[in-house]
């Protein structure tokens, strides 16, 4: 998540969407492939080309997650006006499976992107909850501690117990 802290210098300028007229961009036109089957056929054709698989293997070797790749590919399809976003969303799992198949065939160790990246890391929320618990415990203990002066005065007020009484039982210890 380091990228979020960096300034987005390639972000669109405010009002940029109004520069071209409506319908001037491919994604503003009617999509070329309207059904899931057509989109699948398009992608399977594209992904089975040698040029594409070679590039894909290179990218997978760079540890780019499969999920990110699939999302990028379908987004590019939407931007090119090949299909709608809806069809892209439906097709995306198939793209993931295809990318993983290419990776397996090329014997590449790829990152599927399906593991939780925060697994094993300490959560900020957990640290915060522990801190609050500790604070509560400390406060509770502080309430239980008495003032030393108060304890001394109480001790002085107490009368010392007299142990002059003789024990009467058979098993009682003898006092001299």
């Amino acid at each position: 998540m380091t990228e979020l802290n960096q300034p987005l210098l390639d972000a669109p300028i405010a009002g940029q969407h109004m520069v071209s007229e409506l319908g001037g961009r491919p994604w503003q036109q009617a999509p070329q492939y309207t059904t899931v089957d057509e989109a699948i056929e398009y992608y399977l054709d594209r992904m089975s080309s040698e040029e594409f698989t070679d590039q894909l293997v290179d990218v997978l070797e760079m540890d780019v997650p499969v999920t990110t790749l699939a999302n990028t590919i379908q987004m590019a399809g939407v931007m090119d006006g090949k299909h709608s976003i809806d069809v892209g969303m439906l097709v995306m799992p198939l793209l993931m499976e295809m990318i993983m198949l290419v990776g397996d065939m090329a014997d590449v160790k790829y990152d599927s992107g399906m593991e939780n990246p925060n697994k094993g890391k300490t959560r900020d929320t957990m640290l915060e909850s522990i801190r609050t618990k500790l604070e509560r415990e400390i406060k509770a203990k502080e309430g239980m501690i008495f003032d030393e002066d108060e304890i001394d005065s109480e001790m002085l007020e107490e009368k010392p117990q007299e142990d002059n009484e003789e024990s009467k039982g058979l098993m009682a210890r003898r006092t001299q």
């Binding site: 380091t2 990228e3 999920t67 995306m92 799992p93």
Partner: protein
């Protein structure tokens, strides 16, 4: 590798695992003009739903992947 924004791919993939269901064999119809059975099976398999269609395609590719991985192991 950091993720670029909110990627829906993971949840879509997991949801489609549910849609996949069991593999069912489509029996061949007897004659050229015979009808009904294939349509019936198709209806039972929910193939009309696009998500199920994608899931079926996925299961084929996944089976192929498993074969490759098993051969290697």
């Amino acid at each position: 590798m950091p993720s670029f924004g909110n990627n829906p791919a993971l949840s879509l993939y997991r949801n489609l695992e549910v849609e996949k269901g069991d593999d069912t064999d489509v029996k061949a119809t007897r004659g050229l003009l015979a009808r009904g059975q294939a349509n019936k099976v198709r209806k039972e398999m929910d193939v009309q739903k696009p998500s199920v269609r994608v899931a079926k395609h996925m299961s084929v590719i996944k089976r192929k992947r498993d074969e490759i991985n098993n051969d290697r192991a």
